[in-house]
Amino acid sequence: MPSLRFEEVEHTADLALKVHGQSLEEIFANAAYGLFSLMADLENLSPSFNRQVHLGAPDRESLLVDWLNELLYLHEVEEEIYSRFEIENLSSTTLSATVWGAKMKASKLTVKAATFHDLEIRKTEDGYLATVVFDV
C-alpha cells in the first residue's frame, strides 16, 4: 500500500498541504509532487525531459518556499508540469535537484505562490511532517 505523500487541508481562501516524508529529501520531493498534483493529473504524465534546480536560502523553511516558488516560476514561464522530483543534495540552506516533466499547461488550478504562512517542517515519530499554504 503506497504511503501517503500529501493531503489537502481546509483553508478558507487558499490551499494548504500537509506533506509527509520519511526524510527531509522526501518532504521536499513530496511537497513538489503535491503542488503539481493540484495543477494537473500527474498519474498519466509521461515525462519527456528533465531539468536541474540549484538553490540557496537562509534556513530550511525558506528553502522549501524557494523550491516550490522556483518550480512555479519555471512552470509558468516554460509551460511545463513536473511529476518526478529527485533531491540530490539537501542541507538546511542549499538544495540540488533534478525534476522530470512534460511540456504542458496546468489543467486544474493556477497556484500563485507558496507562502510563509503556517510554514512548518517538523520531526515526527515516523519521519517528518510539513505544512505549506499556497495562494491560489
Partner: protein, 483 residues
C-alpha cells in the same frame, strides 16, 4: 483564538478588540460587521490575524477589518492598516499576492432589453476573444522596454497604443498609474512571468460579466456616475497576473532578512515588512506600484478586447453599444495618503488587502465630474448574485482611512466548496436563473459558487449603515465568463 467575550460593541456595526487583549498590540483592532457576520468571522482565524496586524511598527489608529473579512495569510483579507510615513513599515502581506487585483465597471447607453437576443453570442465571443484560465498566455507580448513602460506608465501605455481613451484614464484610480513605480525594482523573473500576460483575465475568482443595472438607490449620485435602471453594464475583475504574484513572493522572501536587520518582531512570517524609508521598504513600494500599474494596464487591455468584441457582435445590429468607463478600483494595494491623526494632517501608508478606497466628496484625487459626490466604489458579489456600486463618504475619510469592503468574502474553503458543489450542476442552476456561463474549469466553477461566499447584501448593508460607503446601484449578472 479571539472569543466573543474579547469583543467590545461600539455600535451595531462596529466592534473593537482593545489593545489590552494581547501584549504586542500597538493599537486596538476594529471590525465593521453585524452580529451574524461577526459570528461567522469567529469561526476562522481572521480576527487573530487582525490582532497580528495591530503589532506592525508605526501602525496608526486601529487595525481595521471590513465586513467581508476572512482568513488570509499574515494579514486577514478585508483588512486596512495605516502606518506612519516614512518611519512606519510597509508590508507586502498587507497588499497581497495579486497586487492591484481590482474591478472596472463599464456602461453603455443601452437598455438591457435591446441586447437580450445577443447576450449568448456576446458572452461566447468574449470567451473566445479574451484569453483566460489557468496559465492564460495569449496576451499582448511585451518587449523589455515596453514592459518597463507599462510598469511606469500603467494604463497610459495601452491608451497610447490605441487601446483606450483619455476619458478612460480620467476614470481610473490614480489615473491608471501610481507615482513612485520603478521598473528597476521589479525583478527580471517577474517581468518574464508578465511579458505575455497583458490582456489576459486569469482564473480563480477573476471574471468578466455582462450585467444589468437592476436597482438605483441614489438617483442623484447614479446620475453623476451615468447609471440608470435597466442599463447594460460590463464588469471586469482581474489583477496583475503572474508578475504581481512574483513581486509579492520575492519581497516576502527578501524582507525575511530585513526584519532581522531592523529588529522587528512579528507574530507571523507573512507579516514581514520594512520601514518605508529603508532601501528595502522603498524598493518594495516601487515594485508594488509597478505591479499595480501593470494591473491597470491589464484591465485597460481587457476593456479594449471587450469593446472590440461588442463591435464584432453588435455593429449593424444595435446602436449605441459603446462602453464607457465608470471607474476602476484596486482592492489589493498600499497607498500614501493624508489623514488627520491627533489633530494633524499626517502622511500614512494605507494598506488595503481585500478593501477598496472610498474617498468622499471634495477629494482632489477624484475625477472632476465625480468630485462633488465622492468616489464610485465597485463591490462585486459572488457569481450569480448581485454586485454593487457604492459612493465614498466623509465618514470613511474620518473612520476608516478612506476605505470600505471589496466583495462578499469567502466562507467555504475551496476544498469544501468542491466537495459540496458540483460545477456542472451549478452551471445548470445559473442558466436556469437566466445567467449564461462560460467557464474553463468545472471544479474551478464550484470553488466560486455563491454558497462559498458570505452574503453580499449583508456586507454592503453594514458598510452603508456604518456610513463608510453608501449604496448607489445594484447590478445583476446576465452572463459570466471565467477562466
Amino acid at each position: 483564538m479571539v472569543d466573543k467575550k474579547d469583543l467590545k460593541r461600539i455600535t451595531d456595526y462596529l466592534y473593537e478588540i482593545p489593545k489590552e487583549y494581547r501584549e504586542d498590540m500597538r493599537v486596538p483592532a476594529r471590525i465593521y460587521a453585524d452580529e451574524k457576520l461577526l459570528e461567522a468571522t469567529l469561526g476562522d482565524r481572521s480576527l487573530e490575524q487582525l490582532v497580528n496586524t495591530a503589532t506592525l511598527p508605526g501602525i496608526v489608529g486601529y487595525a481595521l477589518a471590513m465586513p467581508d473579512i476572512h482568513q488570509g495569510y499574515g494579514f486577514t483579507i478585508g483588512g486596512v492598516a495605516a502606518t506612519r510615513y516614512p518611519s512606519g513599515v510597509i508590508s507586502p502581506g498587507g497588499v497581497g499576492y495579486d497586487i492591484n487585483c481590482g474591478v472596472r465597471l463599464l456602461i453603455s447607453n443601452l437598455e438591457v432589453e435591446e441586447i437580450k437576443p445577443h447576450i449568448s453570442t456576446l458572452i461566447s465571443a468574449l470567451y473566445r476573444n479574451v484569453p483566460s484560465g489557468v496559465g492564460g498566455k495569449g496576451g499582448i507580448k511585451l518587449s523589455p522596454s515596453q514592459m518597463d513602460q507599462v510598469l511606469e506608465k500603467g494604463a497610459a501605455w495601452p491608451v497610447k497604443q490605441g487601446y483606450g481613451t483619455q476619458e478612460d484614464l480620467e476614470c481610473i484610480e490614480e489615473r491608471g498609474a501610481m507615482a513612485g513605480a520603478e521598473a528597476r525594482a521589479v525583478s527580471s523573473r517577474a517581468k518574464e512571468r508578465g511579458k505575455n500576460q497583458l490582456g489576459t483575465l486569469g482564473s480563480g475568482n477573476h471574471f468578466l460579466e455582462i450585467e444589468e443595472v437592476l436597482e438605483v438607490y441614489d438617483e442623484e449620485v447614479a446620475d453623476v456616475f451615468g447609471l440608470f435602471q435597466g442599463q447594460l453594464a460590463v464588469q471586469i475583475h482581474s489583477g496583475s497576473r503572474g508578475l504581481g504574484h512574483q513581486v509579492c513572493a520575492e519581497y516576502v522572501r527578501s524582507l525575511q532578512e530585513a526584519v532581522k536587520k531592523y529588529h522587528i518582531e512579528l507574530p507571523d512570517r507573512e507579516l514581514v515588512c520594512a520601514p518605508l524609508d529603508s532601501p528595502e521598504g522603498r524598493d518594495y513600494f516601487a515594485a508594488m506600484a509597478g505591479a499595480a500599474n501593470y494591473a491597470w494596464a491589464n484591465r485597460q487591455c481587457l476593456t479594449y478586447l471587450t469593446r472590440r468584441t461588442f463591435e464584432e457582435v453588435l455593429a449593424g445590429k444595435v446602436k449605441n453599444w459603446e462602453l464607457t468607463t465608470v471607474y476602476d478600483v484596486a482592492h489589493n494595494i498600499a497607498k500614501i495618503e493624508e489623514y488627520e491623526v491627533d489633530g494633524r494632517r499626517t502622511k500614512l501608508c494605507v494598506h488595503r488587502k481585500g478593501a477598496t478606497r472610498a474617498f468622499g466628496p471634495g477629494q482632489p484625487e477624484l475625477p472632476k465630474s465625480y468630485r462633488a459626490v465622492g468616489q464610485p466604489v465597485l463591490v462585486p458579489g459572488d457569481m450569480g448574485t448581485a454586485s454593487y456600486v457604492l459612493v465614498g463618504t466623509e465618514e470613511a475619510m474620518k473612520a476608516s482611512f478612506g476605505s470600505t469592503c471589496h466583495g462578499a468574502g469567502r466562507v467555504l474553503s475551496r476544498k469544501a466548496a468542491k466537495k459540496q458543489i458540483r460545477g456542472d450542476k451549478l452551471k445548470a442552476e445559473l442558466e436556469a436563473q437566466g445567467i449564461q456561463v462560460r467557464a474553463g474549469s468545472m471544479p474551478g466553477l464550484a470553488e466560486e459558487a455563491p454558497d462559498a461566499y458570505k452574503d453580499i447584501e449583508r456586507v454592503v448593508d453594514v458598510v452603508h449603515r456604518a456610513g463608510l460607503a453608501c449604496k448607489v446601484a445594484k447590478l445583476r449578472p446576465l452572463a459570466v465568463m471565467k477562466g
